[in-house]
């Protein structure tokens, strides 16, 4: 009888947590996100330009074009990853150029640019299908890039990457416009 009562009390506590505690706990973790409005934008000049540059960079990774990628990085380029030491640009270059890493496809969306004159902060969502040593290494990433102007070219100085999800939805057919590409 006592054991049964104890287990019932535990069950009650679980339900209380599931119904009341969990929603409160979850809601407290992040601010409410504004909903995405389906619309098609005329991108600003900066968004148009950096969409092209970011795409070029990913195409260089896809094609293992080391020279092209290297030309887009500053000498002291760094990558910042959560729960990891700083990764030097040259080490990142070596890792994405190695045969172990294969970038199969990618998609950039929600690109935004803060133009600071000779520097620009570019943020976007990147969805990629890729493997590392044959294992799935793809996912959805939130990327913030700091670009610096070097004469007439833009070079990547710092990249901050956070993984949003390991199992992104990568459309197989045409992408329906959302206006936020």
């Amino acid at each position: 009888m006592m054991k049964e009562r104890a287990s019932l009390t535990l069950l009650l506590a679980f339900y209380c947590f599931a119904f009341i505690g969990m929603p409160i706990f979850s809601a407290a973790q992040e601010p409410e996100k504004p909903a995405l409005t389906p619309r098609i934008i005329t991108a600003t000049k900066q968004v148009t330009m950096f969409s092209g540059i970011e795409k070029q960079m990913l195409q260089a990774v896809e094609k293992k074009d080391k020279a092209a990628l290297e030309a887009m990085l500053t000498e002291d380029c760094n990558l910042h990853l959560p729960d990891a030491d700083l990764l030097a640009g040259e080490d990142w270059l070596a890792s994405v150029m190695s045969k172990d890493f294969v970038l199969k496809s990618f998609m950039i969306r929600q690109l935004d640019v803060a133009d600071l004159g000779n520097a620009a902060v570019v943020s976007y969502d990147r969805v990629q299908e890729s493997t590392h040593k044959g294992q799935n290494d793809g996912g959805e990433f939130y990327v913030v890039d700091l670009w610096k102007k070097d004469r007439d070219n833009w070079k990547l100085s710092d990249r901050y990457v956070s993984k949003v999800s390991s199992t992104p939805y990568m459309p197989k057919g045409p992408i329906k416009p959302t206006g936020k590409q």
Partner: protein, 326 residues
């Protein structure tokens, strides 16, 4: 005190049933079965459906842009309505003026952009029942004195369009409404930072209305203007009206060929004007030093090229003209 074990048991069983029912209702079957040769189109919620293939002779494919079975606007001409929002008499920037109002309304007339060989590029798009006419016409305007304040987001736009209809514009699902804001108005979803304008559609006053938002680009010349002084600028550095005419061109082209966001766009989600964004082709120089690439309605204009859906596809300045990459 006696513990009511029996009642608690019933209560817990009841809770379990409610939870299970909630779980089942929340499920949605993903219908991702594409037939041979079919492409999948995402619905935006993680599911997808097979893209329909064109069936009519009016739909031409294989020119770098694809048809996705939605309707186009086929009015001859397509009516364009303007809601001048904010202060268009003497706003904070010199281009927040009656001169801009007059210039934009002239620009959209049937004897200007509306009947130009540039607009005719749009005739290369159609749906299963016919082609775009290649004609548009300015068909009415109202002024809105900050009915949603000086700062608003996308959700305020249907209300602004609705109030425009109450103020005298027709309720027309075959037209395009332009909400044009003076430079002291902020569209908080990214005007000037991410975009210079956008188009969309919504059910407003019982109809599926197509509308676009375009702000006075003098608010951010570095992001949204190709030159600070345009061919029609009343003074040096007052390029807002010319800059807006470029964005208006972009939005009207797209609102006509992809009014419900389900007709014409490429595999990356780019619509016809997106494919030539900020690409102007060869230019000439006006007396005031500004560059221009079009002449119609008795004036010179600097507007981006348009993607022609024929001859393999490309950006050009007139229907059948040479393609240019920049």
């Amino acid at each position: 005190m006696r513990f009511p074990l029996g009642k608690i048991r019933y209560f817990l069983v009841f809770l379990f049933v409610i939870l299970a029912a909630n779980f089942l209702v929340a499920q949605k079957i993903r219908d991702n079965n594409a037939g041979p040769g079919e492409q999948m189109v995402p619905n935006g919620d993680g599911s997808a459906h097979a893209a329909a293939r064109p069936t009519g002779q009016t739909v031409v494919q294989g020119n770098g842009i694809n048809y996705h079975n939605g309707p186009v606007l086929k009015g001859n001409p397509v009516p364009i309505y303007i809601i001048w929002y904010g202060n268009w008499t003497n706003g904070p920037k010199p281009s927040d003026s009656a001169a801009t109002v007059s210039l934009i309304e002239t620009f959209l007339a049937s004897n200007a952009l509306g009947g130009s060989s540039y607009e005719a590029i749009n005739t290369t798009y159609g749906d299963t029942t016919g082609n775009v006419s290649g004609h548009l016409n300015f068909s009415g305007a109202v002024f809105d004195n900050y009915s949603a304040g000086t700062k608003f987001g996308d959700r305020s736009l249907p209300g602004i369009v609705s109030r425009g209809i109450s103020a005298g514009l027709p309720n027309d699902p075959n037209g395009v409404y332009l909400v044009l804001t003076s430079s002291d108005v902020s569209e908080t979803s990214g005007f000037c930072r991410t975009y210079c304008g956008f188009h969309t559609h919504n059910t407003i006053n019982g109809n599926d209305l197509k509308y676009a938002y375009i702000g006075n680009v003098d608010k951010c010349p570095s992001g949204c203007e190709i030159q600070s002084t345009g061919p029609n600028s009343p003074a040096t550095g007052v390029g807002g009206a010319d800059g807006m005419s470029n964005v208006i061109t972009h939005e009207t082209e797209e609102a006509i060929t992809d009014p419900d966001l389900n007709a014409w766009f490429d595999s990356s989600g780019n619509e016809d004007a997106d494919k030539c964004n900020f690409k102007f082709g060869p230019t000439k120089t006006a007396a005031n030093g500004a560059k221009f690439n079009q002449t119609f309605g008795g004036l010179n204009w600097m507007i981006q090229m348009e993607w022609e859906n024929s001859r393999g596809g490309g950006c050009d300045q007139t229907l059948g003209g040479a393609f240019f990459t920049n």
